[in-house]
């Protein structure tokens, strides 16, 4: 009986050792996880330069660039290779080697010419490199290129506002106003080119945000109303209704319209996360 038990125990241990060996062997393959591990190690080296670029000797930069390039050569068709390509450019930028950075970014542009999203990011970084060098006109040229060539990418949608923000930060209100006006025109064109699409919804919302930046409250409200009229059946409009109510309340001091809008929000979206805020605002209005 005890021999039997011993044999059974031996069998159990043998199975356990085999499964352990199998698990360890499973960890030796060159799968996606192994690629991620290799990239993380290269990325760690790059991080040291990002953290302290001025104290990094040029030889160290070249070593890390080589490391990243080797990774790209080894795993060319992975997302991490693309990330590595951009990181090389960013490394050159932080080390103020702008020409090398732009050459790297142009390589990305050629390599990934079919992907608009990737190209728009590469052009944006080229623009950034000029901006850091204090060459705004050259940067603006790149940013305008994104608006024209890659308008429906995420970067393409953001870039007009980015330009206006630049003028705001640099205390150039006239240029900011004209940039915002140009932006409004750009978004309206996009919205009309892709009617009733999610892109058109985004463009209309951005138009309203531009009017808010311009402090043109009636037009901001009218843009929001356009969004509500066109997309009410497809998307929840509770957030937009709250935005309109806030404009009526804070900027236009119109209590009646504020109340009407908040009541509309509560009535049409009783389960909305903004209902509590709307009710609190209504209470505040009644007190006044």
């Amino acid at each position: 009986m005890s021999d039997n038990l011993e044999n059974n125990m031996k069998r159990v241990f043998f199975t356990l050792i085999l499964s352990c060996l199998f698990a360890v062997l499973a960890g030796c393959g060159n799968d996606q996880y192994a690629i991620e591990k290799q990239y993380w190690q290269a990325q760690k080296q790059a991080e040291k330069i990002f953290k302290n670029p001025h104290a990094t000797p040029p030889r160290e930069l070249e070593r890390v660039v080589k490391l990243l390039n080797r990774f790209i050569e080894k795993h060319p068709k992975t997302n991490l290779a693309l990330d590595a390509e951009f990181n090389i450019a960013r490394l050159y930028i932080v080390k103020e080697e702008y020409d090398k950075a732009r050459t790297q970014l142009r390589t990305i542009l050629n390599k990934y010419a079919k992907s608009e999203a990737i190209c728009s990011e590469a052009v944006f970084l080229i623009g950034n490199s000029y901006e850091i060098e204090d060459k705004w006109n050259l940067a603006l040229e790149q940013y305008k290129k994104i608006m024209q060539v890659y308008p429906i990418t995420l970067r393409g949608l953001d870039i007009p506002i980015y330009i206006a923000q630049h003028y705001k930060v640099k205390y150039q209100p006239d240029k900011m106003v004209s940039a915002l006006e140009e932006t409004i025109g750009h978004y309206r064109t996009l919205a009309s080119r892709y009617p009733k699409s999610p892109l058109s919804l985004k463009a209309h919302t951005l138009v309203a945000e531009c009017y808010i930046a311009l402090k043109d409250w009636p037009n901001a409200i009218s843009s929001f109303n356009t969004v509500i009229d066109n997309y009410k059946d497809k998307v929840k409009m509770d957030g937009i209704l709250l935005d309109i109510a806030i404009i009526y309340n804070r900027e236009l001091k119109d209590k009646v319209k504020t109340k009407e809008t908040l009541e509309k929000l509560i009535k049409e979206y009783p389960k909305s996360q903004f209902v509590k805020t709307a009710q609190a605002l209504l209470k505040e209005l009644e007190k006044k």
């Binding site: 011993e6 356990l16 499964s19 352990c20 360890v24 799968d31 996880y33 192994a34 991620e36 993380w40």
Partner: protein, 291 residues
């Protein structure tokens, strides 16, 4: 004051007997070594979960419960201590219950100066497996529910907009205070159930009766039980602190360091704390029974 002195004296006596038993009968370690091996193999398997072919099985589970990012290097190491703790819970219920029962039989034999027979001890425990399983299941589930209740309660309290609770902010409550509360809960729950297995095995009582008797004995031997269960558990605190700072270790040392900490956790937990707690409390139970 007198009862406290008696308590501390009995703890000293229990530890002397425990040390002597371990020194003279290394076979006492066998159930704990077997459990540590199970735990180690499980840890290796879950540490390789994001890799092929194990990913085929673990991938959907991890993706559903914790998210895709924990299937990638190095974030998988952030999830490792949590997975290891869940696996330990499962292993404790399935195998730990049986092996603790086996250990109690061996301790009883040593205490009664009978020869140790590993096979026979295993069989004695196996006969009571359903009861052992249920006791450990109830105890583990109770601890898990209590920890979850406290954590969710605190989260809801701070999400509701309160910035402070008893003069302390959310960061302190969700960090060190919650850590201490969890530790105290583990100590209390484990102490309350600690005599249930010796009662099941030695007195051959039924399930519910042994749990109730364990509660009664815990109340009677409150101080020595808390010391015998709590003091060894303190050794585990550095491991918990290191595991709690997983992201720091990943960034400052290297991701695989988290795995080494988990292995250290197995060595300390299963080969140091578990034997000391199980043997000492069983010895205390036997000494108390003699009286």
């Amino acid at each position: 004051m007198d009862s406290q002195k008696t308590g501390i004296t009995s703890v000293k006596k229990v530890y002397n007997t425990t040390a002597k038993s371990l020194k003279e009968n290394p076979a006492l370690f066998v159930p704990f070594i077997i459990f540590a091996i199970f735990e180690f193999i499980s840890l290796i398997i879950i540490s390789l979960a994001p890799r092929m072919p194990l990913r085929l099985f673990f991938g959907p589970l991890i993706r559903t419960f914790w998210g895709e990012r924990f299937l990638h290097y190095p974030l998988n190491f952030l999830l490792l201590p949590k997975l290891a703790s869940l696996v330990r819970m499962g292993l404790t219920i399935i195998f730990g219950s049986l092996l603790t029962g086996m250990a109690v039989v061996i301790i009883c034999d040593i205490y009664n100066k009978k020869p140790i027979k590993l096979g026979a001890s295993f069989k004695s425990a196996l006969k009571k497996y359903i009861y052992l399983f249920t006791v450990v299941f109830i105890f583990t589930l109770l601890f898990y529910i209590l920890v979850k209740l406290v954590t969710i309660g605190l989260i809801k309290y701070f999400i509701a907009g309160h910035s402070r609770l008893l003069f302390l902010g959310a960061g302190v409550w969700m960090g060190p205070v919650l850590f201490v509360i969890n530790f105290l809960l583990a100590l209390l729950v484990q102490s309350a159930f600690i005599y249930a297995i010796p009662i099941l095995i030695i007195e051959k009582e039924k399930l519910i009766k042994s749990i109730i008797k364990s509660f009664v004995l815990f109340k009677k031997l409150f101080i020595p039980t808390i010391i015998l269960v709590g003091v060894p558990m303190l050794i585990y605190i550095p491991v918990l602190i290191l595991q709690y700072n997983g992201s720091f270790l990943i960034n400052r040392v290297f991701p695989e360091f988290v795995l080494f900490i988990s292995i250290l956790g197995i060595i300390i937990g299963s080969l140091v704390i578990d034997p000391i707690v199980t043997i000492s409390t069983t010895v205390l139970y036997l000494m108390n029974k003699e009286k």
